[in-house]
């Protein structure tokens, strides 16, 4: 979407807390927004670089736990006599640590996991996420295991004499919107740059990409680092909003949700994850209103996913774009409009 459209949409979204007074709806909007940020990051790896990573929730969860632990403080034995501890830090430090640590994990994963490709990569990425979940579940000394980390502090920022606290929903909504807009801009800049062209090239035709001098491993690793870091920030946001985190955050079902959002909306497009996110963020609420059981809801998702793959394999956004372009084409043919150079 063009820059004007983007800022108009952001401005419109910014007005939401002014007229949406139902706190429950605002809550849904916030959680949806956080998942959209995670979906946009997955889109970088899945849509633009063409790698079906099914472990994405691991980055989200690692970001969540990192920020939670840094802001709560922790002490843990990494060997019988060696203890590592950290005093509680301000929340913004936690979020920063989440981004950095997940980025580093992304680097390690990128370097190791991409030694295998295709279906094997899918399995490795899945396994990685499950191992992380089991660690979170069993390393009770660090993570409290299934008992969860509670009372996670909310983000507060102090400038001069003022203190801004993101505790209540309207304020958190603005925080989420800010991070979402920032993520969108960063991802847009990345995919339209030299690095982005390399990623898309290797998705389209890896041999050809190599033949023009593109280092495939390097591009994959870069995509993973950025994707992971943004997912980590989304996870950190989530944890400081919900203010509790347990190993269920690593469940495969959340990865599936993100994948559905990206694939339905349109992988490899900037607007795709947003459209997909809005649909799959709000559909559950609509269905809940109709008193439909959650299992039935998931069955609908499954059917939808299959249907999209069969009938709209590129997703909603590219399909809509094609309709608009063909309509414009018909207008050229009829002599109504002058063609403009398409510059994505």
């Amino acid at each position: 979407m063009s820059r004007y459209v983007f800022w108009i949409i952001v401005a419109l979204l910014a007005t939401i807390p002014l007229w949406v007074t139902d706190y429950y709806l605002l809550h849904v909007a916030i959680v949806t927004g956080i998942f959209i940020i995670a979906a946009m990051s997955l889109n970088l790896l899945l849509g633009y670089t063409g790698q079906l990573s099914l472990g994405h929730v691991a980055f989200f969860g690692i970001g969540a736990y990192t920020s939670a632990l840094v802001s709560l403080g922790f002490s843990v034995h990494i060997a019988p006599e060696i203890m590592v501890s950290l005093a509680p830090q301000p929340v913004w430090v936690g979020i920063l640590c989440a981004a950095v640590l997940t980025g580093l994990v992304g680097y390690a994963i990128g370097k190791l996991a991409f030694r295998v490709r295709g279906a094997y990569f899918v399995i490795v990425s899945l396994s990685f996420a499950e191992v992380v979940r089991l660690i979170a579940l069993n390393w009770v000394e660090l993570t409290q295991g299934p008992m969860a980390l509670n009372s996670i502090p909310a983000l507060t920022l102090g400038f001069g004499g003022y203190e801004l606290s993101f505790l209540r929903k309207p304020q958190f909504f603005y925080l989420m919107l800010f991070i979402a807009a920032l993520s969108y801009i960063l991802i847009a800049r990345l995919v339209n740059s030299r690095a982005g062209r390399a990623m898309i090239a290797l998705r389209e035709n890896e041999s050809l990409a190599m033949s023009v001098g593109i280092d495939v491993t390097r591009s994959l690793v870069l995509a993973t680092i950025v994707s992971a870091a943004i997912a980590g920030v989304a996870g950190a946001l989530y944890t400081h909003y919900i203010r509790i985190v347990d190993p269920n955050i690593f469940l495969f079902i959340y990865t599936v949700t993100m994948v559905i959002m990206v694939v339905t909306g349109g992988k490899g497009t900037l607007a795709g994850p947003i459209v997909g996110g809005v649909i799959f963020g709000f559909v559950p609420e609509v269905l809940r209103g109709m008193q439909i059981r959650p299992e039935a809801q998931w069955i609908v998702y499954g059917i939808l996913m299959i249907a999209i793959v069969y009938f709209l394999p590129e997703g909603i956004v590219p399909a809509v774009r094609r309709v608009l372009v063909s309509r414009r084409g018909k207008q050229y043919a009829a002599g109504f409009k002058e063609p403009q150079a398409e510059n994505k």
Binding site: L190, R194, R197, A198, A201, L208, A209, S211, V212, V226
Partner: protein, 262 residues
Amino acid sequence: MSSEAAVILAIEHVAVRFGGLLAISDMTFSVREGQIVGLIGPNGAGKTTAFNVITGFLPQTSGEVLYRSRPLTGLKPHQIAQLGLVRTFQRTSVFQERTVFDNILTALHSQSRSRLWDILIQTRHEIASERALAEQAHALLRFVGLEHRVNERAGALPYGEQRLVGVALALAVKPKMLLLDEPVSGMNPAETARFVALVQKIRERGVTILVVEHDMKMVMGVCDQVVVLNYGRIIAEGPPAEIQKNHEVIRAYLGEGRKQRA
């Protein structure tokens, strides 16, 4: 061309084996700077395999490939390309779904550096770098004569023009030596003539060229030297006129002469 020019590419006793199949048994030849050399041979003789080995897409079982006296063993394809030895592909020579312009921009990857920070912040340096790349892309398109196709989807172009884009992609990597894999297959005579003119223009810029082709007229017309590959080994090497009269070559293409006629 002058025979005192330095050897830019030397293939020395290269053999390639896949499982039980010996694709190339013993290939030895060399290319001198500034030459246009044609690599010909019957189907299945191993020509594309040779290309794949030279450019690092396939490891050789034995033997060595030396580019400007430097052994290429163990180097990855993108590293070899960055050294200046660049190839085109016979099938899918372009990024089908991208515009012609984006194709060239992508291929200009090795002509600039960019740091993640510069990209995310959009520093002046980054913006200037992108603008310079765009200009280079337009120049390359003008060179191959496809400026008018700049915003079209590469996959929608006629086959012959796709090949030209493929050559432009290779030129974007600033090669010192260009390997063309069956560039004129599927082209009509007019397109072929246009392509030959382009090849000569490229050689005038100082690029050495090795071309694999089936179109004999084209090969004999434009090449200084011809190398003939059959059953995995070089059976003849020399100027086109000599090759055309070489008995072994004729036999390789036509089969065992007498038996064929009967």
